[in-house]
């Protein structure tokens, strides 16, 4: 049995796991941001629409808008935290 093969394989799988970790962080941060970006754009678009329709509701809409914005924005960070966990564990 040639032990060198095992060493090479171990090194290859080590590099593979490193690449996998980098991919996890990239997808966790990148794709998560894409989804939440759509969501945030949708929220602000709808807010502009509603305020132009009913300007007297502006204050009420603004407070709901920030709630929706923060809830959507948080989704990026679930992906990012999952990516960081995969990267560092």
């Amino acid at each position: 049995m040639d032990l060198a093969v095992i060493t090479t394989l171990a090194q290859a799988s080590d590099a593979g796991s490193k690449a996998g970790k980098a991919v996890a962080l990239g997808i966790g941060g990148g794709l998560g941001a894409a989804g939440a970006g759509v969501g945030i754009g949708y929220i602000f678009g709808k807010v502009i629409e509603s305020v132009t329709r009913q300007p007297e509701m502006r204050d009420e809409i603004t407070s709901i808008q920030w709630l929706g914005f923060a809830l959507t924005e948080a989704c990026v960070f679930y992906g990012l935290v999952a990516g960081l966990l995969a990267f560092f564990l």
Partner: protein, 297 residues
């Protein structure tokens, strides 16, 4: 000189700086082995009192707690008929906490009871987010020397950028709204009120575990939302303000990314710090109000 000209000059200086620095230092990577970005968030024990370890997170919690109490007591002690600017600001905060956050989500009798808790939660999170953006000499990992004195590197850290603080706050919120719901409906009644109105028969078997699970998941979403927002903000400021240049070993990046760092810093201080405190307090009020209200949600 008009604003437009100033902006143009600033932009020109920035571009010129990019070109000069790239020409002077070149664009080649050198491997980084000394700087570990994850150590920026590592908690070194400074000293221990009995079983309690004192770390920089402990320091930030203490500062935030003391600041919250001290500023509010100070402003409340010297209230005047004609408010000065600070008092007007605090009164605006007070109105936001009382009317928008608390009264908007529960009935008046309950709001009277829970307003101090929600207000304190909001102020504590707000203060600890904000002091997190002041560079303090807490980076004991790296030290620099001034006149023979070893001073720890100035670094950004916040108590809320550590999962344990938001988790502790979220646990308090979670226990209190569940207890309040059980007190209002009784244990069985509270479990029944978790299920949306109009669900009967075998569908309950599917809906009830889901609702129970989503109730428990609130604990995670509440804590991770705050923690990850602040942590990601600090990380991206760190990277834009120079860590990227050190990690990749390209000196010119240090100059190129600085405007993005400043913009992100202003965004984090101006919006995210306040918004996250607001969201945490609002969701607390919504959960408390929802647990007590009669109809299933």
């Amino acid at each position: 000189m008009s604003t437009k000209v100033k902006l143009l000059i600033g932009f020109g200086v920035y571009i010129l700086g990019c070109i000069v620095i790239v020409i002077a230092t070149g664009w080649h990577r050198t491997a980084n082995t000394e700087f570990h970005p994850q150590n920026e968030f590592k908690l070194d024990t400074w000293f221990s009192i009995g079983p309690l370890d004192f770390t920089k997170a402990t320091m930030y919690v203490l500062i935030a707690g003391i600041l919250t109490v001290a500023t509010m007591v100070y402003v409340a002690k010297r209230m005047q008929q004609r408010p000065n600017r600070v008092q007007a600001g605090v009164e605006m905060l007070y109105t936001l906490m009382r009317d928008n956050i608390t009264r908007g989500n529960m009935d008046d009798k309950m709001a009277l009871k829970w307003f101090p808790f929600i207000g304190a939660l909001f102020l504590f999170i707000w203060f600890s987010n904000l002091i997190g953006y002041i560079p303090l000499p807490t980076g004991t990992e790296n030290e620099f020397h001034v006149f023979g004195l070893a001073i720890p590197a100035f670094s950004l850290y916040a108590a809320t950028a550590n999962l344990s603080i938001p988790l502790a706050l979220a646990l308090v919120v979670w226990v209190s709204y569940n207890v309040e719901g059980i007190r209002a409906h009784g244990f069985i009644g509270y479990l029944k009120s978790l299920v949306p109105a109009g669900v009967h028969g075998p569908l309950l078997l599917l809906i009830f575990p889901l609702e129970l699970f989503s109730n428990v998941m609130r604990l995670m979403s509440l804590s991770v939302r705050l923690f990850a927002n602040i942590l990601a903000g600090h990380l991206i400021i760190l990277f834009m303000a120079g860590a990227l240049a050190v990690l990749l070993g390209i000196a010119a990046l240090g100059w190129i990314t600085v405007p993005a760092g400043i913009a992100l810093f202003l965004f984090e201080v101006g919006l995210v710090a306040t918004l996250q405190a607001f969201i945490f307090a609002t969701l607390t009020a919504i959960y408390l109000g929802g647990a007590v209200s009669q109809e299933g949600h």
